[in-house]
């Protein structure tokens, strides 16, 4: 791993979330300065901020892209108790000339009475749907029935979790064998400890989400949760950020004929647990093939976890702050590429041993 490029973010306050679009050609950032910025990668690889606008009247916690099948659509959620959906309008020639794009608010989702802590678009095969969760303990699922009209969103489901919610994750599996599923994590720190991860599954018959499982072993506050891409497996993999990094497998138990119609039951196994972050873990996220999990924690590092072919999970990489201040507030855009500054140490030692012995 190496730092290929740096981009002056130019937010006036703390950045809470960064988000790549599906193709990795655009990104969005959100901040306590109540704004969202969108960045575009040009042909030569430079990143330019093409839009920056005030989105909420409070800190913006999360920003996320819809699948490009639905156009250029963003969702954001905020301390101001709302989530919002934004759509890019193909610019007037003036905007284009200035390299700016124009985003309009298509809807504000105002159902929550408390801070909206997470927002996630559903897997694309479910249509244009998004889920929000909030500190009042409710997961809300919205749908835009007409993809050409994003101003209409209907609240389809409200799932009460009874605990302040911090994070949600859709199960990405598009297999017909798997019903839509959403995992919810809670960072409720009240003393009467309860299990902090619940999994809800959509029931075709009742047309409602019902609780399928509760991960009883996770009792500490949970800050983030992520299903892995499915890769055609029959079981699911779920990563959890709590006081440590945990990876669970959820194997659907074959339904008995009598209990058909009820939610799927799962055999749940913990396959990895790492406390390398020393304290709280705040984010977990899978790479696109689900082979590497990244986690971010109180040690200030991002750690990468990968299973070898024996299914043993190991830390394979660490991104760590070097602590030295950057004296470049005046720096513009991406004028600080440090390409190739960071060849892995082991390679250096190999290289040292061979060049030292001059057999070239």
């Amino acid at each position: 791993m190496f730092v290929a490029r740096s981009i002056a973010a130019d937010h006036k306050d703390l950045i809470h979330d960064v988000s790549f679009d599906f193709h990795g050609r655009r990104m969005a950032t959100c901040s306590s300065d109540q704004s969202v910025k969108v960045w575009d990668k040009s042909e030569n690889g430079d990143w330019h901020c093409t839009a920056s606008w005030k989105t909420h009247s409070g800190s913006v916690w999360r920003v996320t892209w819809a699948h490009p099948e639905f156009g250029q659509v963003l969702a954001s959620c905020s301390f101001d108790r709302t989530a919002a959906v934004w759509e890019e309008i193909v610019g007037e020639s003036n905007d284009k000339l200035r390299g700016q794009s124009h985003w309009v608010k298509r809807t504000t989702l105002v159902d929550s009475r408390t801070s909206v802590t997470d927002v996630k678009f559903a897997p694309k095969h479910m249509g244009l749907m998004l889920a929000t969760c909030s500190a009042d303990g409710i997961v809300r699922i919205y749908e835009a029935p007409d993809v050409m009209n994003l101003s209409q969103w209907s609240l389809q489901h409200e799932i009460s979790c009874k605990l302040s919610c911090s994070c949600i994750s859709w199960n990405p599996s598009s297999s017909r064998a798997h019903s839509p599923m959403i995992a919810v994590g809670s960072d409720d720190s009240s003393p009467n400890a309860m299990a902090k991860v619940q999994i809800f599954e959509y029931n075709e018959n009742t047309r409602k989400y019902a609780k399928a499982e509760t991960l009883m072993t996770v009792t500490d506050p949970v800050h983030d949760i992520a299903f892995a891409p499915n890769l055609g497996r029959s079981f699911h993999i779920l990563a959890i950020a709590t006081k440590d990094v945990r990876i669970f497998t959820l194997k659907p138990v074959r339904k008995e004929l009598t209990s058909s119609g009820g939610p799927t039951k799962f055999e749940i196994h913990i396959v990895a647990q790492f406390d390398n972050h020393n304290s709280q873990v705040w984010r977990v996220s899978w790479n696109i093939t689900g082979t590497v999990l990244a986690s971010s924690g109180d040690d200030g590092c991002v750690r990468l976890w990968k299973a070898n072919y024996m299914d043993n999970w190991k830390c394979t990489g660490i991104l760590k702050g070097n602590g030295s201040p950057v004296n470049g507030n005046s720096q513009q855009g991406n004028s600080n590429p440090s390409l190739g500054s960071n060849i892995p140490n082991l390679q250096n030692s190999l290289n040292g041993s061979s060049s030292g012995r001059k057999h070239s």
């Binding site: 730092v3 490029r5 950045i15 790549f20 639905f70 156009g71 996220s285 440090s338």
Partner: protein
Amino acid sequence: MEELDGEPTVTLIPGVNSKKKQMCFDWGPGEMLVCETTFNKKENSETVPGCPFIYIIRKDIDVYSQILRKLFNESHGIFVGLQRIEEELTGKSRKAQLVRVSKNYRSVIRACMEEMHQAAVAAKDPASGRQFSSQVSILSAMELIWNLCEILFIEVAPAGPLLLHLLDWVRLHVCEVDSLLADVLGSENPSKHESFWNLVTILVLQGRLDEARQMLSKEADVSPSSAGMCRVLGDLMRTMPVLSPGNTQTLTELELKWQHWHEECERHLQDGTFASSPHLECLCKIMLGDEAALLEQKELLNNWYHFLVTRLLYSHPTVKPIDLHFYAQSSLDLFLGGESSPEPLDNILMAAFEFDIHQVIKECSIALSNWWFVAHLTDLLDHCKLLQSHNLYFGSNMREFLLLEYASGLFAHHSLWQLGVDYFDYCPELGRVSLELHIERIPLSTEQKALKVLRICEQRQMTEQVRSICKILAMKAVRNNRLGSALSWSIRAKDAAFATLVSDRWNQSLLALGGLLGSWEAQDCRSDLWARPCRFLRDYCERGCFSDLDLIDNLGPAMMLSDRLTFLGESLGSVPWTFGTVVGCGGGRCCLDFSRVFFLLSPNSKPHRALCARLCKAYFLVTFPINFKSKEKRCKSRLRIKKLPCPLYPDSPFTYCLICFIILRFLGNSLKGSWRLCSPFLINT
């Protein structure tokens, strides 16, 4: 089976203080985003300014190297060829083929090394020069390891030939001697050259005894006092029994002869034949395989594996493969002498001498920054049937594990991803699903690229990816108001609902057909009844050019998909050859006589009554006023059609309720040629 693991690599993010802040991040298809943040919302974060940058983190730096790109490109061809080697080939022919493949891989590495070396020499600034040089030494180490693996695992050289291969291996990789040789021979008085004895010693150490003998004769020529000694040593060199490839003598014969020769050398040393010349005596000791004498030449030997091979040459020339590891280990220990500890390269070579393939691969994947080497070497060894007993993580084997890693790395690059496709294809377990996940993330920046991605998906029946890509393109086109393109993409995505949405949008915007088709159409266009505008018409009206020829060619009979866009065929059921059947049987690509098309569409009218407009060279838009009398009833009930008089043909006995746009392409020259129907689409309101 051990794990493929090492210590995690640490990447430093400038400006982020990990003691005080945390990092938020996101995965992209080939890159990661990282940025400083504070997650704990409850504690009020300090107001000290944080790191103002967002960082893009990439995985494999080597993927972005211009020179290594050649390595990736050329080895891709070898890899694909190897996968196609016929399984039936057995025994010698198969082995010969695998050795040839291995040599091909090595020659690609060497070519790349050569180029990297040139780049290092030509580098303008010292930093990039150093970087190129370090790449040269990495490539050199790769080739060294690969070559040894080739000898031991692929060639599987037996006792006797084994040593010859190892000698070649050392000669190939310790090659400064050649420039030294040229240097000395080029000097006025070679035997007085300051490096003369070093050169002779190196030649002996490498077993290049003929050349050593020639050098000694030069010494003999100028120094009569030592001429006799030189001749004796030269004779010993000449008579040393060696296995030559074409020779039929058995190992036992060789061993006997060698023993005899060895004793003769020993006797000369005992008799003090060379006592008056320390140089010659030293050479004789080397030829006796004297360890102390060899170790005195550490400087010239460069490394322990050279020491090993020289030692074997002069003391165990018929070493068996199975005994190699013993000599290798003791050579390493003797050479390093406890002064330094083995480095990664040493461990890799040692593992090879121990015939521990898995250890070789494991150590290599730890020591090298990219997956190219381990993926290709492992694949080759797997084709040698050396890895089959090891079943790994969910059914996938190590070969596949490494190939997937390598291919994923290629997918991070804007053009190398195309090579990655083939690697995924040859991974039976997870190759397909990995390709599916990667390929849909390829940015569809140009239509050309999109078509390339689509072709790859279509060849592999990845229907969901094809659908999704077409849908993305359709959405993109709609957003840019390119409705014709949007329609064609959504038809290709088999997305009838979306096609209808697009065609509805046509309805909403009016086509400025006036200039093109005359007031007749323009008037009709304003009524709901008539045709909807499409992009190419509008483009033509606005810019006088025609931008989407490809799409028009691709529209074809798929227009049937949306029920809003059915063909005339359905409505003109009474006509024996309907438009629909023409399109249906010809796939929209049949050559038709223009007038015949017209006749099919409108049997009662005469060809000249069609409106024909040239859109651009060889493309014509034809608009037909269609007589719909016979179907009036049905249409009335369904569509509430008003009868409109045709302004162009006021006397026309027909009423028109349909209009048909056809794009015809004229193939051939203007005198002789045929009309090809490239877009027989009809708007049936």
